[in-house]
Every structure is written in C-alpha cells, then in structure tokens.
C-alpha cells in the first residue's frame, strides 16, 4: 500500500499571547511545529503500513523551514519526505494549495491512501483536503475517527458527525482527513531520530510540478485577504469573590439584570 501524509508546519501556539499595547499576536521565539492534527494522520499512515505493508511518504508545502517538520515526521516513522517549496507558491489560498499538493501527489504517486489532519490550527479552514481530492479526481472522507480495515480496494471507515458517527465503505484510492480520536501518536524512536538526520529530503519546486504560474500562489488564489485585525476584547467581566452564598447571589442578580436566562427550560 502506498500511503501519503500531507503535513503543515504551523506556528507553535502554546506561548501565543496578545500584546496588550498593540493588540497583536506575540510569537517571539516560537518554533514552527507540525500541525497537531497532522500527527494523528501520520500515526494512522504508519499503522496502515504496519498492517498492510507499503511505504509512507510525507509531503509538506511551505517555505524552506518546513524541512524541519518533514525530518520530525521521518523520526516518527515515515519512510521518505518531500518538500514542496517555491517562492511562487507564497500567498496560496486553499484552492491554490490544493492544486499544488495534487500536482506533487500525482508526480510522486499514485497513492492508495492520502491522509491529512482535519484542519490546520493556524488557518482553521479544513478545506485543503476535499479540494485536493477533487483536483486528483478521487473521493474523500473528512473527520475520520477509525479505519476499520481494508479489503481489496475497499476501505471501511467511521466518520464523526454531529450526534454520532457514520460507518461507510469507500473505494481506494482515497483521501482522508482524521480527528484526534483516531489514535495516540507514538513518540519518535532513537532509530527514527537517526534516520531523520540522514535521509535526504526531496524538494519539488514550481518547475518540477510544471504548473502554470496563473494557478499557483497569489495569482492562482481566487480569495484575497483584504484586512487582518484582532477581534474586540470582552469589556472586562464582573468577578465576584467572598462567601459562595453571597457570590452566587451576586452572580445570579447580575445575570438577571443583564437579561440573561440561566435556565434553558424556562429561559429560551
């Protein structure tokens, strides 16, 4: 089974704070990390390989620094890493990103299963998976929480939905986006860390992908960000202290005065 895992490098967010003076994000010294959801995709790829044989190829599109994310993925157990990097790719929206990823997947493939995290924690769109699948002309399933198994060229999946989950069978090749519940990623092994340092990471540039300039980067992106701003902060809350009885009384009084119903049976 030929498996591809697409990962994204995102700013490590644990230390994100808003600068109280300028109201902007402070990310001083924050390292890029692998998008947390992509780690579940990677682990699932490795598990598929362990069960059905094959190889796991990790792809990442982004500026040259994504190489560190790819090497990290190799330390967890990916067989090879490919970086999709070119100045002309900067400013890609989800459609242009998907077109570029699809071109790379086509060159490196064909793959039986392509895995991604459900969304990246910086953009939060979750659109690149389905859009990539469409560019490749293969089906996709989002929010996968379990791969029950593969038989022949059919894969049985559980997909998270509001109020429950859906069991379905889908054909291979397929693109899946996964949720956290699907597995618990393993830590990097010593051997993996060694390999990660030694294995060459292949680079695919715009020329390698042979994509028309007008379909990549800014010019291939139908959407354009015209304004970025920080959301207005809450105007400062009312905090009650003291004895629980009085504090609760004050809280309920304040809610009542503000016209906020505290009970969905009576209130709404």
């Amino acid at each position: 089974m030929k498996i591809a895992v697409c990962i994204k490098q995102v700013p490590g967010t644990t230390e994100v704070q808003i600068n109280p003076e300028t109201g902007t994000l402070m990310r001083e010294g924050v390292e890029g990390i692998i998008n947390p959801f992509d780690l579940y995709a990677l682990e699932e790829g490795i598990r598929l390989k362990e069960k059905y044989g094959g190889t796991v190829t990790v792809l990442s599109m982004g500026p040259p620094q994504v190489e560190s994310a790819i090497r990290e993925a190799i330390s967890y157990g990916a067989d090879e890493g490919v970086m999709i990097s070119d100045r002309s790719f900067a400013g890609s929206d989800t459609l242009a990103t998907a077109g570029t990823l699809a071109a790379a997947l086509r060159i490196l493939g064909p793959f039986d299963v392509i895995l991604m995290g459900r969304q990246a924690i910086d953009g939060d769109t979750g659109q690149v998976g389905p859009e990539t699948a469409e560019h490749l002309g293969i089906p996709h399933v989002t929010e996968v929480k379990m791969i029950e198994g593969v038989e022949g060229n059919r894969i049985t999946l559980r997909r998270m939905l509001e109020h429950g989950y859906l069991r379905l069978k889908a054909p291979l090749p397929i693109l899946l986006t996964v949720v956290k519940e699907i597995n618990t990623p393993r830590p990097a092994s010593f051997k993996g860390k060694l390999r990660a340092r030694q294995v060459p990471v292949k680079i695919l540039s715009g020329k390698d992908l042979d994509l028309a300039p007008k379909i990549v980067g800014l010019s291939g992106s139908p959407t354009r960000v015209i304004r970025v701003f920080t959301p207005p902060k809450p105007t400062g809350g009312k905090v009650f202290t003291g004895e629980p009885k009085e504090a609760v009384q004050s809280l309920l009084r304040a809610l009542k005065e503000a016209g906020i119903p505290m009970n969905c049976k009576n209130g709404s």
Partner: protein, 400 residues
C-alpha cells in the same frame, strides 16, 4: 519576496513586525525590515506595524468570464432523516440579511435542495423566507453520499449561476462545499462569522477567525464566481419562520450518478444527548475537578440548567470523560448562549474553542487564571462549594 513590500522611507526599524510574524520571516537589515522567503503573506506584520510601512501589494485579478451573468444568493440545504439541519435557518438568515444590502437592485434568495423524497421540505424553506427552491428530488440520493451530492450541486450552480453560495459550517458543509468550490474553480471562505456586501463593489465581504480566533480576516473573492462561504454554527441570526409563505419551485432534472460510497449505518452517540456544537448551555469541567468522580458536580449543574457537559483537554487526556466532550483547539468549537467553565484555567487552546460563546461564566479558585480575562462573569472560589450553592439557588428560584 514578491507581493509584500516594506516602504523603506517609512520603516523606523522598530522591530514590532519581527515579533508579530508567526513565521520568523522578517529580519532587520541595516535597521529596516526585510521580508525573507519564509513569508506566507499572512498579513500579521501589516497589522502590527504602527507606521504602516508594510504593504501587501494587491495582485489585480483578471476574471475568466463575464461575472455579471451571475446573480442572486443560493443557500445549500443540509438535511438528515427528512428534517432540515438546525443550521439551515441560520444560513437563510444570513442570506436574507445580504439580500437587504443590495439596495435598489434586489436579488433572489434561493435554496438548493437535493435528495430523495425531500420535496416536502420546500414548504419549510419558503416559511423561512427563501424566494425560490431549486429542487432535485430523485430516488437514490443518500444524504451522506457526498460524492454525488457535490457533483449534482456543482452542476446546479453552474446552470443557475448564483453570485453567492452559502453553506453551513457543519461537518457535511465543510466537506461538501470545498469539493464544490474545487469543481467550480472558485474561492471558498470557511466558517465565516460575519458577512456583508461591499456597498461600492457589490462584493461579498467574508470575515472569519483564524489563528484559533486570535486574528480576524476579511476576505474577498473578486475574479471568480460564485463567491462561496460556509457560516459558523450559532453565529448568524436564524430567519424567523412564517408558516404559509410561498415561493417558486424550480425543478432540476439531472441523471443521478452512482455513489462510490456504501453507507453502512449511522450510529447515534448516546453518551451525548445533545451535540456540544448545537448546545445553548454548556457546563465544562477541567483539571480543577481533581478526580473523575467529581464530574458529577458538572453533570448536576448541567442537568439543573438543561445544559450539555463539556470538558477541557486536561480532563479528557486524564481519561475522566470521553473525547467528544472536549472543547478547544483539538476538540470542538462551541458557541452556546452560556458557557460555564468550572476549574478550567483557560489556556489559549481552550479559549479558542469557546470564546465565541455569548456569555462566559468562570468558576475558579485562582483569581489569576486566564479564564477570567475572557469571562463576562466570574466567581473566585472553591468549585466544590460554589457549584452546589449555585444549583441550590437556581432550584429554589425555579420553585419560587
């Protein structure tokens, strides 16, 4: 770096942009900002620069076709088991609000309804105020067979040519609409919290949170049609229902292709009576509970106010409560009317998932817990005393 420019004359070399850049893509060279190849054109520096010395040059898009042939607003109808999904009235509400903004040049709001035996839902859609229902009611269309739904929906959009297509920010919507957008080779903005029509250009201004809600971005789709967006659940005001309103049914007649998927079963999650993302009242517990048994406090309070139980990642990772209850970056994003955070310190990752709540109430013994910085109301105290007291007072109020 193409596309982004530092105006050397205006740049003071203050370095604020270096700190704002999430990708470490700015350096100081000869006391001026210098954008390196790591730049992704995210725009954080443009926002951070007090001197307006960084600009992202507007790339001028050239439309591939005559855009004026696209007119009207189309709502993607999501339904399951013969009922409209709860987000549908919200999408219609958003569409009707946009319709109002096209002053003097009225647009039609239509609803694209695809399925088997779904004709009856048209009446309900008219009651919510749509002008037209574009109906494809044929056998063999499973509401979960997204591949054929995307095919049929994209075909309808190509034929009917609306200028705006809105869908729900639901699991299905966020899977189906990107598939359609890629088929139509057009732009799609995910999970919008605000939509408006630019009065000068008539373009759809799509505003959405990114970076886990720390940043808001307004996005345009200028050169391709339709302009597509999914709307975040429980943000847009639902359209009021008026029984008896009517409209026009436009029958679509497409051959239904065979789905690649074999839908086996839908398994309802009984541990969750109400889905968190749809809940109006949520009571969440975190590390401060100290023990899985103490989730009974949370459950009791939730029962009292008719709410749903949520949890922080700490509580889920400790195995105190299953993952579907997790609120936050790697869990669910919720927008209830009231969110009560009990014993949750409020790390950024948790805030990301619940900041959109109408009213946030925090109960925590640490007055410096970050949760208080975003809470509208708070009680500093021991939750094992505060929660029972809160339950007691709420119940006595109910009886009295």
């Amino acid at each position: 770096m193409d596309g982004i420019k530092v105006i050397i004359e205006t740049c003071t070399g203050c370095g604020l942009c270096l700190r704002a850049c999430p990708y470490q893509a700015i350096e100081l060279r000869e006391k001026k900002a210098w954008i390196t190849d790591n730049c992704t054109l995210c725009g954080a520096c443009v926002e951070a620069c007090p001197w307006k010395a960084i600009v992202i040059a507007g790339w001028k898009p050239i439309p591939k076709e005559d855009l004026s042939q696209y007119r009207g607003i189309c709502v993607m109808v999501e339904h399951r088991f013969g009922e409209l999904s709860p987000i549908v009235p919200e999408i219609i509400g958003a569409a009707l609000a946009l319709k109002q903004q096209f002053k003097g040049d009225p647009r039609t709001v239509s609803a694209l309804l695809i399925g088997s035996g779904v004709r009856a839902l048209s009446e309900e859609l008219f009651a919510y105020g749509v002008d037209e229902v574009w109906l494809l009611d044929k056998p063999g269309i499973d509401p979960f067979a997204e591949d054929i739904l995307a095919d049929l929906a994209a075909r309808a959009i190509r034929d009917r040519k609306p200028e705006i297509v809105l869908g729900g920010g639901t699991v299905m919507g966020r899977s189906l609409l990107p598939r359609m957008a890629a088929k139509l080779r057009t732009g799609l903005t995910a999970d919008c919290t605000e939509l408006s029509i630019d009065p000068e250009t008539g373009l759809l201004r799509q505003t959405r949170p990114a970076f886990g809600g720390n940043i808001m971005a307004t996005i345009l789709c200028e050169s391709s049609r339709p302009q597509m967006a999914t709307v975040r659940h429980k943000v847009m005001k639902p359209a009021p229902k008026e029984i008896g309103r009517t409209g026009q049914v436009v029958e679509l007649d497409y051959k239904v292709p065979k789905s690649d998927f074999e839908i086996l079963e839908f398994v309802e999650d009984t541990s969750q009576k109400l889905d968190l993302t749809e809940a109006d009242f949520i009571v969440s517990g975190g590390r401060g509970l100290g023990d899985p048994k103490n989730f009974s406090y949370i459950e009791e309070l939730a029962r009292t106010i008719g709410g749903t139980v949520g949890a922080s990642r700490a509580a889920v990772d400790a195995g105190w409560i299953p993952y579907p209850h997790q609120v936050g970056q790697t869990g669910k994003t919720v927008n209830p009317k009231i969110y009560i955070a009990c014993g949750i310190s409020g790390a950024v990752q948790h805030q990301v998932g619940m900041k959109g709540s109408d009213v946030i109430i925090a109960i925590n013994k640490d007055p410096n817990a970050p949760i208080f910085s975003i809470a509208h109301y708070g009680i500093v105290g021991d939750l094992f005393q505060v929660i029972p007291e809160l339950i007691r007072q709420l119940r006595s109020k109910e009886q009295g």
